[in-house]
Amino acid sequence: MDSYVTLDKIVRQALIANGEESLHKYARYLQFGMEGAKDFYMDSAQDVKTVRLTMDAVKQVELPLDFVDWVKVGVVIGDRIKVMGVCDTLPILTVRDDCGALQPYTSNVPANSIPIDSILYGGYYFFNYTNEWGELTGKLYGIGGGYTDIGYFRVLRNLGDHGVIQFNSDVNTTDVYLEYISNGFDPKEETIINSYAEKCIQFYIHWRVAWHKHGAASGNAKESEFQYYNELRKARIRVMGLTTREVLELSRKYYIQAPKM
């Protein structure tokens, strides 16, 4: 069994199952298939797509066409991903020059003004790392964790054609690594579906066709709906299959070596 099947194949299987001997209802069935696939991708598929995007001069990257939500935004360093932090204080309003071209924000904080730390650290002021003569003591207490030196980002869905990710002005990389949940559709490619969900999508099509069928008894649609949810349940079990090894690993994850007194 292939790990993926095309939506085209599922749609044609649904046509055959409904007694169609030609492709005249293909577009309608395809539309239903895509709706079913979208539901599956967003709620159950656990398929995370990965892209490397290039940041432009205004510290933005365009969101992919099939972007639904982000999972990880970062920079690849060696064989690891260094993740960036989410920052909701990055402005949504854009800065434009006289010609209307987008301009980058700069940190624009005078050296003797509010230290950048106080912006990054949620507006709190920290002065306990200097002594009374302004010398750094090297000890910065009270900040806590959760800050990154790679950079910060904010997803702005209403900018650009399909939304953008805005980075803070201090980010000094142009190569951004993005893991995201996809709606499963890319207009430049054929739609592919996890083989585990093949029947599930097919039954979704049957359900919707039965639901909208002119003059059909509502019992048929209800039966089709029941079959679809049964197939969805099976697909979710297959996709999210938890093995005994994973359970064992989870149980051992929080065992830590205790200091001996």
Binding site: G19, E21, S22, H24, Y26, Q31, G33, F185
Partner: protein
């Protein structure tokens, strides 16, 4: 199994009560035309009978007529099209236009869509038909949703559901029905006797 010509001759013999005589006014071409008209009407009935009886949305492959058509470009509409050799049986969803495949790759296939497809599916994910090309009939032409000529397709194979041409296949179980139907049309009918009197069929 009777061909169109055999069935035509049979009907003429029945109508004239023997071999056709030289001064008979029955034109064999008219009989052929009637046979095809009756058969095309029967195809439509068979389509709906199949749905009711077997839940099959199609008709027998015996009714498929295949043609090769040249692809042309409509410079005003900027769409590729073909001109149909003849009309097809009007079935729901334009199913009379059964299939169109490019001659330069028969494993590829075009997707039949309706005339309003491009506006109805505009912006929807299904609108790109999974990168496939759609086609829709408009009068005696069929337009394609993509520029297929630039993809190297200059000829396409068209399959129509229609009874046409001298090589038409008439299913044996249909022969008697067709003969009866054509004869009922051809048998001369007496003019209506509209005046209530004891004189039959006055020439009014």
């Amino acid at each position: 199994m009777a061909s169109l010509a055999v069935l035509r001759d049979q009907i003429i013999r029945r109508l004239v009560g023997g071999d056709q005589i030289s001064d008979s006014q029955i034109d064999p071409r008219e009989i052929e035309l009637l046979i095809l008209q009756v058969l095309n009407a029967a195809i439509k009935i068979e389509y709906f009978t199949n749905i009711r009886a077997e839940d099959v949305h199609g008709v027998s492959g015996q009714y498929i007529a295949t043609y090769i058509c040249d692809v042309k470009k409509d410079l005003v509409r900027r769409e590729d099209y073909i001109t149909l050799t003849q009309p097809f049986v009007a079935l729901p969803n334009d199913k009379g236009l059964d299939q169109i495949t490019p001659m330069n790759g028969k494993c590829r296939f075009f997707i039949p869509v309706k005339v309003g497809f491009s506006s109805l599916y505009n912006g929807l994910p299904a609108g790109n038909l999974e990168l496939k090309t759609g086609f829709y009939p408009e009068r005696n032409k069929v337009f394609f949703t993509k520029d297929i000529m630039s993809q190297g397709t200059s000829k396409v194979m068209v399959k129509l559901i229609v009874a046409a041409g001298s090589d038409v296949v008439i299913p044996p179980d249909m022969e008697e029905t067709i003969v009866k139907e054509v004869m009922s049309i051809m048998i001369p009918k007496m003019p209506q006797d509209k005046i209530v009197d004891n004189v039959d069929n006055p020439q009014v």
